[in-house]
């Protein structure tokens, strides 16, 4: 006959409630006492059965819950169709975007010296190119439609290359692209096909002591942690932007105007045409970065 205390210890053992030493002592006891071992095996079967019954009960409860979508087959079909539609729209917009960029910007190119992006630089780097130029349009054949791209931007968020193209794309598709390339403006390299005097551009492209648009920071929006948008001409920066630790750089050339954000040693393009909340993507093109840094230091 097994005493109550041993039965209690056996119960605690089955529930894994014994400490290391106590457990080892009990196991030695089990080994040494066949009657206790028999009782242990019986109790274990009972406890395992109780656990299994509860497991089954919970599974049955879950099984009775209607699941979203009504089955994987239909869910896959819906998803597939959705992706096909998105791909179709994207392709159409890319086509129109490229077509319009080429036709509209070629005539405008002559007076606009800043609208230059060396063909070799665009494909070479595949980096964020804020500028869009008529000559570049053919070179930037990898650029995709802005609207579709911006909508699919989230899907490609892991790819900086795609993000870079997004920024370029948005400018390229819009007829009034005002972006110009400070790299070309400030560089004296012959690869630039600009006809304007870079130095002249430089003098006009000084940083304004205050931006031409209002700037507002918003750190309360949990959805956007490092994004921006232009809302009725006002720049809204989403995220924890410490006061006085960011700069806005603006480059002017006649009617053209480009703005960049400088924050924590990175430059970010600010597209004033962007009324949607857009993630801030650091500029990585080495030439552009160099020029931006030089401009900032002046």
């Amino acid at each position: 006959m097994i005493d109550d205390k041993t039965i209690e210890t056996l119960d605690a053992y089955l529930r894994n409630k014994l400490s290391g030493e106590d457990r080892e002592a009990f196991e030695r006891q089990l080994h040494a006492d066949p009657a206790l071992k028999q009782e242990y095996l019986f109790q274990k079967t009972m406890v395992d059965g109780i656990r299994e019954a509860r497991r089954t009960q919970l599974k049955t409860t879950l099984n009775n819950i209607p699941v979203p979508g009504g089955g994987w087959g239909s869910a896959l079909t819906v998803k597939g169709i959705t992706w096909l539609v998105v791909a179709g729209v994207t392709g159409t917009l890319v086509y129109y975007g490229l077509t319009r960029a080429v036709s509209k910007e070629i005539p405008a190119n002559t007076p606009k010296v800043e609208q230059v992006q060396p063909a070799e630089s665009a494909p070479a780097t595949s980096e964020p190119q804020p500028e869009v130029t008529p000559e570049k349009a053919p070179a930037q054949s990898d650029v995709k439609a802005p609207a579709a791209k911006s909508s699919s931007n989230k899907n490609n968020s892991a790819s900086s290359k795609e993000k870079a193209n997004d920024e370029a794309d948005q400018k390229e598709a819009k007829p009034n692209i005002q972006v110009f390339d400070p790299t070309t403006e400030l560089s004296n390299e012959k690869e630039e096909s600009t006809t304007g005097a870079p130095s002249e551009k430089l003098t006009t492209t000084e940083k304004a002591s205050a931006p031409t648009f209002d700037v507002e920071t918003n750190s309360d929006n949990k959805k956007y942690e490092f994004d921006y948008q232009f809302d009725q001409g006002k720049l809204i920066l989403y995220g924890a932007f410490e006061k006085n630790l960011y700069e806005i750089l603006e480059f002017f050339n006649g009617t053209k105007h480009t703005a960049f954000l400088y924050y924590k040693q990175n430059f970010y393009l600010l597209d004033e045409q962007n009324t949607k909340v857009t993630p801030l993507t650091p500029i990585t093109d080495p030439d552009l970065l160099k020029k931006l840094k030089e401009s900032r230091e002046k």
């Binding site: 019986f42 079967t45 109780i50 299994e52 019954a53 509860r54 497991r55 879950l62 819950i65 994987w72």
Partner: protein
């Protein structure tokens, strides 16, 4: 509800929160199995098993969550599905007759235990399940089931277990399982 709130409720034994999780992550978790040579039925089964594992660990106080709930459940699904795939591979190789005969006795005993549990009243079933599966304390069981105090819960558990004990032993002796 955020992860922390859901987890706290699950630890307190809130089954509604478990149901909420089930619906929320159904697609994500079943996709894992379906895209790895499983059927939807298998996927559902694995996901339910994983949720029950998660539930048991959380309610018994044996889980300190250091990742998102979905990440944790996903890893359980991965492990379970991997084991299932290994089991299928093994079964296809082994002699099935041999595998079955070895399990007959324990299978029968388990069946007897299941039947006897079903014969218990609802309260007895709950007390024993909360005690042995969720590993709830007597105080929690008393609160949950409306007992006067922990001593009442303890006594109830003792009586329910004794009853189950007797039911099983009676069936065992019929089937010659008692030595």
């Amino acid at each position: 509800m955020n992860d922390k709130e859901i987890f706290d409720r699950i630890c307190r034994g809130d089954e509604k929160s478990l149901e909420f999780l089930y619906k929320k992550y159904y697609r994500m978790m079943t996709k894992l199995v379906i895209t790895n040579s499983g059927t939807e039925e298998e996927a559902r089964d694995i996901y339910q098993d994983a949720l029950v594992v998660f539930w048991q660990k959380a309610t018994s106080g044996n889980l300190v969550l250091t990742s998102k709930i979905s990440t944790y459940i996903y890893s359980i699904c991965q492990n379970l599905w991997r084991k299932e795939l290994d089991r299928k591979k093994r079964l296809s190789r082994e002699e099935k007759d041999v595998a079955v005969s070895q399990d007959m006795d324990s299978h029968e005993r388990n069946k007897i235990v299941r039947n006897c549990i079903e014969q218990l009243g609802d309260t007895c079933k709950k007390v024993l399940m909360y005690y042995y599966f969720e590993e709830m304390s007597m105080q929690d069981i008393a609160e949950r089931l409306g007992f006067a105090n922990t001593d009442t819960a303890k006594t109830k558990k003792y009586k329910c277990k004794k009853k189950l004990d007797e039911l099983i032993k009676a069936q065992y002796s019929e089937h010659d399982f008692l030595d």
